[in-house]
């Protein structure tokens, strides 16, 4: 079996950060394969918080598309060896 390339095997440390009135997760740090899509992070958050509508964004002031690869996000916006992902839940209208 051919060896996999280092990039596809690489795990990224993701740190989930609650903002607004979102509940804080007991387990807020985890590792995910760089080749996974950001969608996996979003779905993980949805399951942990039992909520479907979440606002998810990174510190560089944008909300990544679910199709982005985690490794691309880490390479561009990670620092200190991790990718910080912020999440918020409800928001008052008006």
């Amino acid at each position: 079996m051919a060896a996999e390339s280092p990039t596809s095997e690489r795990k990224v440390v993701v740190h989930l950060r609650a903002t607004g009135d979102a509940p804080i997760l007991k387990q807020a740090k985890f590792k995910i394969a760089g080749s996974d899509k950001f969608l996996k992070v979003i779905e993980f958050l949805r399951r942990q918080l039992h909520r479907d509508t979440l606002f998810v964004y990174v510190n560089s002031a944008f909300s990544p598309s679910p199709d982005e690869l985690v490794i691309d996000l880490y390479n561009n916006f990670g620092f200190d060896g991790k990718l910080v992902v912020n999440y918020a839940c409800s928001m008052a209208w008006g």
């Binding site: 944008f62 909300s63 982005e68 912020n86 008006g94």
Partner: protein, 184 residues
């Protein structure tokens, strides 16, 4: 966005082509536990071989004090697209966002400059989620293209427009995103 505007106008991105390929989609539903039979397959025919054309405008709302997206789609013969047809063109993740999110939803509104009903993403939650996105950054320190890139990262997901990651790199302060055309 709170600075005084000397000129009124809007940003536009026009003539975006969406090509609907005439292909058969095989949908296999093998994950449902409630189905009596496994491997239920549905064959879906895409009957049209149409090119749909979209125009996108970013208009500043003086009442909500945020940018608002206006867009419309039409067939190559000029026939406007209905909301259902537009939703069909959207990638599944965007349809889901429009249907389920309380941050953005699609309605018809009168375009303040074109003066005709265009589809729009309602701006009532924009100020709230922009505050989250921008964190502690004060409006004074933000140039318009940075603000719009943040705004577009959310709005783009709702309508199937993807912003390249490289554009979101904001290490340089001056407006390098020259892909916008300002119409007066």
């Amino acid at each position: 966005m709170g600075s005084s505007c000397k000129e009124e106008g809007y940003l536009s991105l026009e003539n975006m082509f969406h090509i609907d390929r005439n292909e058969e989609c095989l949908i296999v539903d093998s994950f449902s536990e409630r189905e009596e039979t496994d491997d239920v397959a549905t064959l879906v025919h895409s009957t049209s071989n149409e090119t749909h054309i979209y125009d996108f405008h970013i208009v500043y709302s003086f009442s909500y004090k945020v940018p608002v997206l206006y867009f419309h789609g039409y067939q190559s013969d000029g026939q406007p697209l209905s909301m259902d047809e537009i939703e069909n063109d959207l990638p599944p993740s965007s349809s889901k966002i429009l249907r389920e999110s309380k941050w953005t939803y699609m309605t018809l509104g009168e375009h303040p400059y074109v003066r005709r009903p265009w589809y729009t993403l309602h701006p009532c939650a924009t100020s709230d989620w922009m505050k989250l996105l921008l964190g502690g950054t004060s409006m004074k320190d933000l140039d318009i293209s940075s603000y719009l890139l943040s705004w577009l990262s959310v709005v783009g997901q709702a309508i199937g427009l993807r912003i390249p990651l490289e554009l979101q790199q904001r290490s340089v302060k001056h407006p390098s995103a020259s892909c916008f055309i300002i119409n007066n």
